[in-house]
């Protein structure tokens, strides 16, 4: 037992004495979170907005006037037909549109309840959500004015939001679970495999093998530090999300840690497998980058919507642990779902981890070749 502890301490020395490893460990997640966070959620200005006005009355003119006064929007001159609006969206000329139905004012006047439609380009989900919020606020402002003037009878304007192209708003805060999957992969798969292969390259692995220390313990000693470090990274990302990006973690934090640990075991096993079949640090790095990171970026769904994948490729994500991890974290962290809702995904992830761990342990060489 003492041997194991000394070994683990040695691994930490390696990490803390290598500036590059430290940078990857703590610089990378910070940079990613901040980059994704701020690059995607910055304030929007001068949005090209079109109005489709079937009503043409005092109420709609009033609202249009408010829109023109706003610095957020740049109103297209002539009101459009519905078809022209769709074309303008496709051509990228407008980012959002406000549609007043023909009976808008009539409904408002008779029933006290008017409906209008906000249409936004959902392919840029962050901008779309901001636009929707602004437009709703402006309409809400008008409603308050009406109510103040009318006194007793409350008017109600109900905006109906419609997102083109990306109705479920995939991608807004989804990058956080994505970054989590990516960072855990880097730390567990890449760093672990590189640290083992480095011992092969330097010749220290030979000495370790020719010692009473059990080969299996070498693996454990290698894995434990990176398990700890990746949990640290996980915590760092959560803290940055909550305190810097003001993201609310809706689900159970304990559940998140639990699922992450399962995912980490899968990543560590992959790292061990890679270190088994490669003999140089560069190759290990390349294999884990190309073989693990790229699929994670492409196929988990956090960068590109999976719906856009052509037929057979759509099956690939199912094979990736990172895909299942991403689904669970998204559900728990952003939607606030409990274990009951994600037990199936968690079970698949657990199965994958156990299988990978088994394969990597079976393949571990107790000799050099």
């Amino acid at each position: 037992m003492k041997q194991l502890l000394v070994f683990i301490r040695k691994e930490f020395y390696h990490v803390f004495r290598d500036r590059r490893t430290l940078l990857i460990l703590f610089g990378l997640p910070t940079a990613q979170i901040l980059l994704f966070g701020f690059a995607l959620s910055s304030e929007v200005k001068n949005i090209n907005l079109a109005v489709v006005d079937f009503a043409h009355d005092q109420a709609t003119q009033h609202i249009i006037g408010k829109l023109q006064a706003s610095r957020y929007f740049h109103l297209q001159q002539a009101p459009l037909s519905y078809a022209a609006m769709e074309t303008a969206f496709r051509q990228g000329k407008i980012k959002a549109a406000l549609v007043f139905p023909a009976n808008f004012s009539a409904d408002l006047g008779h029933t006290g309840r008017g409906q209008l439609q906000i249409v936004a380009d959902g392919s840029d989900p962050n901008t779309a959500s901001t636009i929707t919020t602004y437009l709703t606020a402006i309409v809400g402002d008008y409603q308050r004015q009406l109510n103040q003037a009318a006194g007793a009878l409350p008017f109600q304007i109900v905006p109906e939001t419609r997102l083109l192209y990306n109705p479920e708003m995939n991608g807004s805060l989804n990058f956080i679970p994505g970054v989590l999957a990516l960072v855990l992969m880097i730390v567990c798969t890449t760093l672990t495999s590189v640290s083992i292969v480095r011992e092969k390259e330097r010749g220290t692995m030979e000495v370790l093998l020719v010692s009473p220390f059990r080969p299996l313990l070498v693996l454990i000693a290698k894995a434990v530090p990176y398990l700890v470090l990746s949990l640290l990274d996980f915590t760092l990302i959560l803290l940055l999300s909550v305190f810097v990006l003001d993201v609310e973690i809706r689900g159970s934090v304990m559940l998140l840690y639990g699922v992450s640990t399962v995912f980490i075991v899968a990543c560590l096993s992959l790292g061990l497998l890679i270190s088994n079949v490669t003999a140089s640090q560069q190759v290990a790095m390349l294999v884990s980058m190309m073989g693990m990171m790229l699929p994670t970026l492409l196929f988990t769904g956090f960068m590109f919507p999976l719906e856009n994948l052509p037929g057979p490729l759509r099956l690939i994500p199912n094979l990736l642990p990172s895909h299942w991890y991403y689904l669970v974290v998204k559900a728990v962290m952003l939607k606030g779902l409990g274990f009951g809702a994600v037990w199936r995904e968690t079970l698949i992830l657990l199965g994958m981890s156990v299988a990978l761990l088994g394969i990597s342990l079976r393949n571990f060489n107790i000799r050099l070749a």
Binding site: V6, F7, K10, Y13, R202, E206, V207, V210
Partner: protein
């Protein structure tokens, strides 16, 4: 019981196309300082890796301390010390940390076996807080030896410990091995430097995966079959050419400023005849003197005798 035995060990790489070790058999007695002497590619490292249980031989059996290298590998790993060809230290750990780590790995402490490494460790102790990567070649070598010795192994394997190390450090290193021998540790050491062979009790000359000869250095030198002469003139290069053109000469190899010459037939007037021949060839400053052969002479002799069939290589 022999400390190390090999019987008909063969090892090939790349699906049998590269024969690294071919039918090698020898035994090392307890407490012996045994040398594997040969150039790169002779099979030294493969033999060491087979004995340290890092590689499996294709065929043949081998034991270390009575344990079979194939089935009893854990028992061997518990008792041997091994210093691979490269200095296998953690460059980013300090001298002290390296030593501590290896001591713990072998389930012992520095204090427990300090007597064994004391003489060596004292030389590097002033640098105990320096990282191993910042040590000189000689220092690294000493630290690596300390790490390999820290658990008081019964058999110590040193794979080319002096390669790439300067002559001064090499001398010191061999002096340390001499001291360790006094402690009763069996030592197997490999080296490409022929002059180091004489520092071992027994040696195996290796070439192309095969053993050329196994014996004490004295016996190996004594087995050299011809009287040997050292020849020198003022023009080394043309001397070599002329010697090769001279039919009575069997072999001529440059050894520093001299050329070592053996004759086909053992005639009493060989040296006088050679002198005459060289004079006729306009050589000046001619020296021809009988000398005792060295390990290297014997190695060359065995090597060329062995490769007359398979020319080249």
């Amino acid at each position: 019981m022999d400390a190390v035995t090999l019987e008909h060990i063969t090892k090939t790489y790349e699906k049998g196309t590269v024969r690294a070790v071919e039918d090698v058999s020898f035994a090392v007695k307890p407490g012996e300082l045994f040398g594997l002497i040969g150039p790169d590619g002779a099979g030294k490292t493969s033999i060491f890796r087979i004995l340290t249980t890092l590689l499996l031989a294709d065929s043949g059996t081998a034991t270390v301390g009575g344990h079979d290298v194939r089935t009893d590998y854990q028992a061997i790993r518990n008792t041997v010390g091994y210093m691979p060809g490269r200095f296998s230290l953690y460059q980013d750990l300090t001298v002290q940390e390296n030593l501590n780590f290896f001591a713990t790995l072998f389930d012992t402490t520095i204090a427990a076996n300090y007597a064994l490494i004391k003489d060596i460790y004292e030389q590097i102790e002033p640098f105990r807080d320096r990282r191993a990567g910042k040590l000189s070649g000689g220092m690294k070598q000493k630290l690596a030896l300390c790490c390999a010795l820290i658990h008081k192994p019964t058999v110590l394997f040193l794979d080319e410990p002096t390669t790439g190390v300067d002559a001064v450090s090499r001398k010191e290193f061999w002096a340390m091995l001499g001291q360790l021998r006094q402690q009763g540790i069996t030592i197997l050491v490999s080296t490409p430097y022929m002059d180091e062979a004489t520092l071992c009790e027994r040696i195996a000359l290796l070439q192309g995966g095969k053993i050329l000869s196994i014996d004490t250095p004295d016996n190996i030198v004594r087995a050299y079959p011809h009287p040997l002469f050292a020849v020198k003139t003022d023009a080394v290069h043309s001397l070599l050419h002329d010697l090769r053109a001279y039919t009575p000469v069997l072999s001529s190899y440059a050894f520093g400023e001299f050329v070592h010459v053996a004759f086909r037939q053992n005639q009493p007037n060989n040296d006088a005849a050679l002198r005459d021949y060289l004079r006729a060839r306009q050589h000046t400053g001619i020296v021809v003197k009988p000398i005792a052969p060295t390990i290297e002479d014997r190695f060359i002799e065995l090597m060329t005798a062995n490769s007359t069939a398979a020319h080249g290589n």
